[in-house]
């Protein structure tokens, strides 16, 4: 076993350990902010595993999209929603937990059969490691995976155009003003703030002009 192989094995062990520990932390910790930060750790560990598999482009894309966009948006949502709620025990918790366990067990069985059924040894021999992974991905995108690739890109383009139109309000028609409909007042889930008048104002408000002359 030479140096490169040793480094690979050690980093694989470290990354797997990191990923499993972080994923358990995401599920088990009660503080949702910690869970969100640990989710970033899970994504980065997965990117590390991709690098070990010689898929450097996929690893960079994983970091860019999952850590840089998805995880930041999750954190954003958590920090903008200023709601601290204690966890209340639900009614019929046993049934819910049973259903969850059933779904999880089903997923586990499905994935295990997939792992056992896939002929893993065939793929390692045919893949040349010298070629850049970008070239291979590009070739697959424009030959046998053309339709899914084009569908996904059109979907993303539609989403982006939609976002731009939503942001540029002038393209949208003005909301029709119907005077009879009572508008629901939206409030932030914060505690109401008492208005504290400034000191100079309070003296004029509370005291009559006659008091001041005393």
């Amino acid at each position: 076993m030479d140096l490169a192989q040793g480094v690979q094995i050690v980093s694989f062990a470290l990354l797997s350990l990191m990923m499993i520990a972080a994923a358990l932390g995401v599920v088990l910790l009660t503080n949702i902010v910690y869970s969100a930060f640990l989710l970033g750790g899970v994504f980065i560990s997965i990117a590390g595993l991709y690098i070990l598999l010689n898929a450097d482009f996929v690893a960079a894309a994983q970091v860019l999209i999952y850590v840089g966009a998805v995880n930041v948006l999750i954190l954003f949502a958590i920090m903008l929603v200023n709601k601290r709620e204690d966890f209340t025990p639900l009614s019929s918790a046993g049934l819910r937990k049973g259903a969850t366990a059933l779904v999880c067990a089903g997923l586990f069985v499905l994935l295990s059969t997939m792992v056992l059924a896939t002929p893993w040894s065939a793929s390692t021999a045919s893949v040349p490691t010298t070629e850049s992974s970008i070239v291979r991905i590009g070739q697959h995108f424009f030959t046998d995976f053309l339709l899914p690739f084009e569908l996904a890109s059109v979907l993303l383009l539609i989403a982006m155009v939609g976002a731009i139109i939503l942001a540029r309000r002038e393209y949208l028609p003005e909301v029709l003003q119907t005077p009879n409909v009572q508008q629901q007042v939206l409030t932030l889930p914060e505690r109401p703030r008492e208005l504290v008048p400034a000191v100079s104002d309070s003296s004029t408000l509370t005291s009559t002009p006659g008091d001041r002359n005393k």
Binding site: F57, A60, V63, L64, V67, V72, L75, M79, I164
Partner: protein, 372 residues
């Protein structure tokens, strides 16, 4: 094509001649360029801080630092020493673990991005296939550190600053990536070496600055926004939110934020010079000069001159851009948060998309000039 000096090969070969096995020789070589690059980046920050002080003084008709060393060059060193010896304060109600982890998460990706900055044909830590995409990916990790710092400080100004930083960083990442993508499309490669190679050959006329006039402006605006430089320094706007996510930080942790912002500025300037200003190329092709003077391409001293000229050119171009950034900082007022997001989403994003389409069309029509 003559590739110039390859220090790595020479070093490893000379170690192997001493009887060290090739694996160990490579392992001995690997930390050397990394260490050198970290030192270089830190020195670059000191120079940038000094430039910032001197140029801001000139912009305001002051003298600036004068007595700390010749022309005050030791002022940034004094700054650094002060920060190192300052007390490290943990706010009472803060989240200690996240408070410590925040600055670390901001600094590491910035230094890691120096992996791909080339100073010559072989003067780069690694020429990986992902290249410039690695920088885009790594720079997207920093907002998590900023959010972490803002949240854990338990201070409303910090949280506001962290949220602003994350919003700004996400918004400007997209036009930045699109303008980089236009360059990548022309050079048919993500590798920074290939991007510079594609611009070499015709001297200053071959640089991407002529082929990507819109991409260049979009890239520089987005790079300034990513570095939180003054037209876009909302995350730490002093007049509104004290110092943003840095409010509660002191000592070495604050120094890490300070360091990362300047390292990021130098890095952006270096990558700008790689992407648009021909990297290590001299404005007049050196091959042409050498053939005019009748010097052979394989001449050892010509190769040494070429290599050192390459390093000097890269750094000169980068510092020209740093100078522009500093000048912008001291002459341009800060934008508001709505103006910032408007500029990012409604102006830069459509412009960079149009630039990408235009580049693709030009590449199809004029393949000789746009790297068909």
């Amino acid at each position: 094509m003559n590739s110039g000096i390859d220090l790595q090969e020479i070093f490893i070969e000379s170690l192997m001649d001493l009887g060290i096995p090739p694996g160990a020789a490579k392992a001995i070589w690997m930390p050397l360029p990394m260490f050198l690059m970290i030192i270089g980046a830190t020195v670059g920050v000191l120079v940038t801080v000094w430039l910032e002080r001197k140029i801001s003084a000139a912009a305001q008709q002051r003298i600036g630092p004068e007595y700390m060393g010749p022309f005050g060059v030791l002022a940034p060193v004094a700054d650094g020493m002060k920060l190192v010896f300052k007390e490290d304060i943990l706010p009472a109600q803060s989240d200690r673990l996240l408070f410590t982890l925040g600055p670390v998460l901001v600094v590491i990706p910035v230094f890691l991005s120096y992996l791909i900055v080339p100073f010559g044909q072989n003067l780069v830590i690694t020429d990986i296939g992902t290249g410039i995409f690695l920088w885009v990916a790594l720079s997207s990790i920093a907002p998590i550190g900023l959010l972490m710092a803002g949240y854990s400080s338990n201070n409303k100004y910090s949280l506001l600053g962290g949220l602003r930083a994350a919003a700004q960083s996400i918004s400007y990442e997209i036009p930045l990536s699109l303008s980089v993508l236009a360059i990548v499309m022309m050079s048919n490669s993500l590798s920074t070496i290939d991007i510079v190679q594609q611009q070499s050959g015709y001297g200053i006329l071959g640089w991407n600055i002529w082929r990507q006039p819109f991409g260049l402006i979009v890239f520089w605006i987005c790079a300034l926004a990513e570095c939180e430089r003054l037209p876009f320094d909302l995350p730490e706007a002093e007049e509104e939110i004290v110092a943003g996510y840095q409010t509660e930080y002191s000592g070495m942790k604050f120094a890490l934020f300070y360091l990362s912002s300047y390292v990021n500025l130098v890095l952006s300037a270096l990558l700008f010079s790689v992407l648009y200003l021909g990297g290590w190329n001299f404005p007049i092709p050196i091959d042409l000069l050498a053939s005019l003077l009748g010097v052979s391409e394989t001449d050892p001293w010509l190769q040494i001159i070429t290599a050192s000229l390459g390093i000097i050119m890269t750094i000169l171009k980068a510092y020209f851009l740093v100078f522009l950034a500093v000048l912008l900082r001291w002459t341009v007022p800060r934008v508001r948060i709505d103006q910032l997001l408007d500029l990012g989403w409604k102006f830069l994003l459509p412009v960079s998309l149009a630039n990408l389409l235009l580049t693709a069309a030009l590449k199809l029509v004029f393949p000789f000039a746009f790297g068909g």
